[in-house]
Amino acid sequence: MTLAILNIDWSTLADGLALGATYALMAVGIGLVFGVLRLVNFAYGQLVMAGAFALALASEWGWPVWAGIVLCFAVVLALSIAMEHLVFRPLRGHSPAVMLVATFAVAFLLQSIALLWFGALGKIAFSLAFLNRPWTISSVDIRKIAIVAIVVAIVCLALLQLLLTRTEIGLHMRAASMDFATSRMLGVRANRVISFAVLISGALAAIVAVMLTVQNSQVTPDFALRDTIVVLAGVVVGGLNRPVPATLGGFAIGFATGVLGGALPTNQSQYIPAIVFAAVILVLLVRPRGLFDFSRTVERV
């Protein structure tokens, strides 16, 4: 059973959806921090990389799967908190571009630490490899991880939506991302909101680390670097200011890359990065405020 258009079969479609779902989670992680800090965290991929190395070490030490996942969360959350205190906090209030360059530096720093520690070949995380085996649904083979990724992403996004709309801290986060200064005057505690956003963003990075190591068990120092670049582009294309457009942007770019990668022959699919980024530039030119941002406000001089 195949879809006639472009030669896309169902398993390619499922893989594309799974990649889109994973990228959507990364987009939310980046977007949450941007909302409260106006900071684009280029080092987000290195949080994922650290989590992936934690999983690899755990499987090397023969730990059970749940312990590896716990270690992964612990490492990523600790690193997020450290990053927030050492880098984000002192940078608060600088221009977004300065902060982008700063997190660019942090990304390279973390990557070179990983290079020093684990070497260029990295380590292998194999404890979750069984999720790569397919489930056969009416003669279509779909990898378990694709379904797991989609389900996990939907659950996470739903929980996050509840958190943002139904709890006090969620209300504070939304208020802070609309107007940080005013929300502080109205009693929103800045540090608490920021720490909370960074923690959730870290937790999402840990989840993404688990899912990406299943797809690609070879964990190298540049693990998730390419994904972060693509997600960042997707987030900016979607519109950084709001969580839903940012998520859609991340999903769209992941889905497009995944499906194109599966559907095109190698001599064409090697040019996917060029095609994707050309599309990104085009969108930025046509809709600089983001593809999915339909608000009409114009920045006043």
């Binding site: 880098v87 940078l91 977004p96 660019f104 530096a105 942090v106 070179s112 020093l116 582009a233 530039i281």
Partner: protein, 341 residues
């Protein structure tokens, strides 16, 4: 113009001093000095655009890459081209250029590429500009990696005559600094800095932000192309050596020195290069004041990364404060605002 001549003389003096210092050391150490001078050219190219416009660009290394590819393809001996670049396009197979000519063409290609890329991109500012220029870098890297009709693809550019020595690299750095100085003292440079300081006010007096940025982008693409030409004549360039790492280190140099001044760009390039080269030597074991030092490989990146992050956090306007150096005891003036990279 005359009053500001020291803004030209001091950076030139630093570069000439570095080149002269390079003549005193052993041949193997000399490579580090030559490399440093090429980096100075790249960072000065970055300064022309980023420093004067205040708009971030991650894309300049793609013009370095294009310059390297141009100069490389034109100077590999014709007899060796089929072996190194078997899929080269017909019109490139028999083309050959002398060393200096290849550098000139590399610069022109860099400038034209920047102009073409700039036509759409210069409308963007802030984060959108950052991401879009990153996209340019990604596209260039992707195409050069797989497009074997214009170069060696994923292989290294071997057999390119290694003509970039201290003299050529020094002359090129001097050329870049003079061009950057003349540009930033010109009407165009002043207008562009006005848009950097206050976009709305500059527009109100009739400045076209778009046109001024496009001019600066083209000039800096020209310099970046020249630096790329020098780079390919210095060592066998491979597609990954003109990608993220080079982008990172050159941006680090600019930021550490101080984005908004030529002096800052040159000081940053020299200081970070000196540190980076020394650490690279120390990774192979060296001695300092009688201490034997043997650092594990990878230390250089960690130190430079920490330095860049620390400077951004503690002193975001860079070591020089983003000001030009004034001699004669005149207090430092220039833009007092923070570097808006």
């Amino acid at each position: 113009m005359r009053r500001h001549l020291e803004e030209l003389v001091v950076p030139l003096g630093l570069v000439v001093a570095a080149a002269l210092l390079g003549t005193l050391v052993s041949i193997s150490t000399q490579t580090y000095f030559t490399d440093t001078l090429v980096k100075v050219s790249i960072v000065v190219a970055l300064y022309v655009f980023i420093g004067n416009s205040g708009v971030l660009s991650f894309g300049h290394i793609s013009f370095v890459a294009l310059g390297a590819w141009t100069a490389g393809v034109l100077t590999v001996p014709t007899s060796e081209k089929p072996a190194i670049m078997p899929n080269l396009a017909d019109f490139l197979v028999h083309r050959h250029a002398s060393n200096v000519m290849s550098l000139v063409i590399a610069a022109v290609v860099g400038g034209i590429a920047a102009f073409i890329v700039g036509i759409p991109l210069m409308r963007l500012s802030g984060l959108a500009a950052g991401i879009a220029t990153f996209g340019v870098l990604e596209i260039t890297h992707n195409l050069l990696t797989y497009e074997e009709r214009v170069g060696p693809g994923q292989n290294a550019f071997s057999s390119v005559p290694e003509t970039t020595g201290l003299r050529q690299a020094g002359i090129a750095a001097v050329v870049c600094i003079v061009v950057a100085f003349v540009y930033s003292r010109s009407r165009f440079g002043r207008l562009l800095r006005a848009t950097r300081e206050d976009d709305a006010a500059a527009r109100a007096v009739g400045t076209s932000v778009y046109r001024q940025r496009l001019i600066a982008f083209t000039v800096s693409g020209f310099l970046a192309g020249l630096a790329g030409g020098l780079y390919v004549h210095l060592l066998p360039v491979q597609v990954n050596s003109v990608y993220l790492d080079l982008t990172f280190i050159t941006l680090a140099m600019l930021v550490v020195g101080g984005t908004t001044s030529l002096f800052g760009a040159v000081v940053g390039a020299l200081a970070v290069s000196a540190l980076d080269s020394w650490l690279a030597v120390a990774e192979n074991g060296t001695s300092l004041f009688g201490w034997h030092i043997d650092l594990p490989p990878g230390t250089a990146e960690i130190v430079v990364g920490s330095l860049m992050a620390a400077v951004l956090i503690l002193r975001p306007s860079g070591l020089t404060g983003g000001r030009e150096l004034r001699l004669r005891g005149v207090p430092w003036r220039g833009s007092a605002s923070r570097a808006r990279a």
